[in-house]
């Protein structure tokens, strides 16, 4: 899934018009990104809304120096980090979300045969579980790189670390994932 780039010059100056458009474009991605951080759907929904509220209120500060999605993801990452750091939320963050692993048949593409579908879902579940077990910094790098399809430079900008650090994290995260998936029978 590639980012559908929205040029900042094309965005209306009025947040009343801009934010609904951004929610339409990036709402679900922001929601999913928050989930990868917080591992809780309710918290992620709260944070995702908070991201766009913040974007609405700070719209006049967005100068278009970075792409709009980088800006939104940066807000998301910061809000998630704040929430995860808060002492009183720490205990609320579950280690796993059973919902992630429950899939309805409606998610099966019609062209899949039953066996293919089961195999595909099993692999997806396994990958998801492995990603969710990664330490925060590595999970962050994997999600932003693979799921949000950002470049390492963009990830560095969002997370506030260097490009090289992101590359190192990606390298190590891949190794960890490989280890998880091999140990867990990833080749099923």
């Amino acid at each position: 899934m590639s980012q559908s780039e929205v040029k900042s010059t094309e965005l209306p100056p009025d947040p009343e018009a801009a934010i609904p458009y951004l929610m339409e474009q990036y709402g679900t991605r922001v929601l999913h990104l928050a989930f990868f951080y917080l591992k809780d759907r309710h918290l992620a929904e709260d944070i995702a809304q908070e991201v766009f509220i913040k974007a609405y209120r700070q719209w006049d500060r967005f100068r278009g120096d970075s792409s709009v999605y980088t800006w939104l993801y940066k807000i998301t990452v910061n809000l998630c980090r704040d929430r995860a750091r808060s002492a009183w939320w720490r205990r609320m963050l579950p280690t796993d979300d059973p919902d992630v692993l429950s899939h309805g048949e409606s998610q099966l593409p019609p062209e899949d045969g039953p066996e293919d579908a089961v195999l595909r879902i099993a692999q997806n579940e396994e990958l998801m579980a492995a990603v969710m077990q990664l330490p925060d910094a590595y999970r962050e790098a994997i999600v932003l790189y693979y799921y949000q399809e950002l470049s390492t430079v963009e990830i560095a900008e969002i997370t506030g670390v260097s490009d090289n650090t992101i590359k190192t994290r990606l390298f190590r995260a891949r190794a960890m994932l490989k280890g998880h998936l091999t140990k867990g029978g990833g080749g099923r």
């Binding site: 899934m1 947040p15 009343e16 934010i19 609904p20 929610m23 339409e24 709402g27 679900t28 922001v30 929601l31 999913h32 989930f35 759907r41 309710h42 929904e45 709260d46 995702a48 809304q49 908070e50 766009f52 509220i53 609405y56 209120r57 704040d82 808060s86 002492a87 009183w88 939320w89 720490r90 205990r91 609320m92 992630v100 899939h103 309805g104 409606s106 998610q107 595909r120 879902i121 692999q123 997806n124 579940e125 990958l127 998801m128 990603v131 999600v143 790189y145 693979y146 799921y147 949000q148 399809e149």
Partner: protein, 418 residues
């Protein structure tokens, strides 16, 4: 398809169908236009937590002997619950039947009637200061309608009903205990004042404004019965009473209605209305929204989760099994948080008059913390047996609902002075 896209798609598939919905978008636009809730500044938060930790350490230190009684037997609890007080012989209390006979108490109707004076006299006689009733071991006493002295510092057992399930307190020193289909209102000394009987249902919720003001009881989570000057029964799953003017808010899960003097003042529909209601400061909190009780207009929204509970005019809390979070009534921003230690599960929380009681289950027993509105721990104690509920009276007295329907009070002298 590249490996990168493939992995991205696999991760995306796991979340397929879960989207940023139009309802969320609408909420964003509504909330964005409201006054901004300002989270606590890090520096202040650090100071607050430092104070909190220091106070907790102090409270734990001075209560260490009590806390150590978690694994102890009943005798240990007796000692541990009453540090610094010598055990005194207990005077057998009359069983409820005796009290009823002696006082000539009659079966009371739903409208509630005052307990006859003779019973009060009897209760006061039992509560004579020189009566050897105190201290009473809170986990070993059994009995019914026990009236004990209200001596300051006594860890007293008060009015009881065998299968009581709920305890609530209002702005004054009095409190109410609900049991089955009955609600009994007591004054601060534990003297029964009035009894209410719910027709055709069990009490599932209880709110008291004061011992003189209205009382509301939830019935089977389907009906709300208001007793007092404007008695009424309305359908609803949850409710709250305003401590200032006795207005009652009722929610059926989708619609919140506000009643004043028996009349509906306003009704408001919510897409995702919470069943929990609370009058906090001059707001009516429902779900994550604070309303103006006069008009039903939304004042602010926030990200709070958990059951709401009042604490002071400026702060209310939300609590879940592991966390209590305090929020400012002015704008819904978070003020501080309390996280239960490992192995403890928060089972109840009650606040009033600037004091918050947090009750957690720990093994077979319970632990109680009392804090002030700024998270300073004023009291910590462990109990070998379960404690089923807590309430804080308008006088700041912390009441415990004990197994068998007994009500105990935390000794005022044990609580660190605010």
């Amino acid at each position: 398809m590249t490996e990168r896209t493939d992995i991205g798609n696999k991760l995306g598939d796991s979340l397929k169908g879960w989207e940023f919905t139009p309802a969320m978008k609408q909420q964003v636009l509504q909330r964005a236009k409201m006054p901004e809730a300002r989270p606590g500044r890090p520096a202040l938060r650090t100071v607050a937590w430092s104070a909190f930790v220091a106070a907790a350490a102090f409270a734990i230190a001075i209560n260490l002997t009590r806390y150590g009684g978690l694994e102890g037997n009943r005798d240990e609890v007796t000692q541990l619950s009453l540090p610094g007080q010598e055990a005194m012989p207990q005077t057998p209390m009359p069983a409820p039947a005796e009290v009823t006979q002696d006082s000539g108490q009659r079966a009371m109707g739903a409208s509630g009637e005052s307990v006859p004076g003779s019973q009060r006299e009897s209760a006061q006689k039992m509560a004579a200061p020189d009566s050897p009733l105190s201290p009473l071991p809170i986990s070993t006493r059994t009995g019914h309608y026990e009236q004990v002295s209200e001596r300051a510092g006594s860890n007293s057992l008060m009015a009881v009903q065998e299968d009581s399930a709920l305890v609530a307190a209002g702005s004054g020193p009095g409190f109410a205990v609900a049991s089955g289909a009955q609600v009994m209102l007591y004054d601060g000394a534990g003297n029964p004042l009035r009894q209410y009987v719910i027709a055709g249902g069990q009490v599932t919720g209880l709110e008291v404004v004061s011992q003189d003001g209205p009382i509301a009881a939830g019935v089977d989570r389907q009906q709300v019965q208001l007793f007092g000057a404007h008695e009424m029964s309305v359908p609803g799953r949850s409710f709250a009473l305003s401590p200032t003017d006795g207005a009652m808010a009722v929610s059926d899960g989708q619609r919140v209605s506000l009643y004043r003097q028996g009349q509906v003042v306003w009704q408001r529909e919510f897409a995702e209305a919470s069943e929990e209601l609370l009058f906090a400061g001059d707001n009516l909190v429902t779900g994550s929204v604070a309303l103006d009780p006069a008009t039903g207009d939304v004042r602010w929204t926030h990200l709070g989760q958990g059951r709401p509970e009042g604490l002071s005019a400026d702060v209310f809390v939300r609590w879940g099994e592991e966390v209590v979070t305090a929020f400012r009534t002015a704008d819904g921003s978070s003020a501080w948080g309390f996280s239960a230690p490992e192995g403890h599960r928060i089972t109840d929380a009650a606040g009033n008059a600037g004091r918050l009681a947090i009750l957690a289950r720990h093994g077979e027993g319970a632990v109680l913390w009392v804090t002030d509105a700024s998270a300073r721990v004023l009291y910590v104690a462990g109990f070998a047996e379960p404690v089923e509920g807590v309430a804080v009276t308008g006088a700041g007295r912390v009441l415990l609902l004990l197994p068998g329907g007994k009500v105990g009070a935390v000794p005022a002298s044990e609580i660190i002075s605010q």
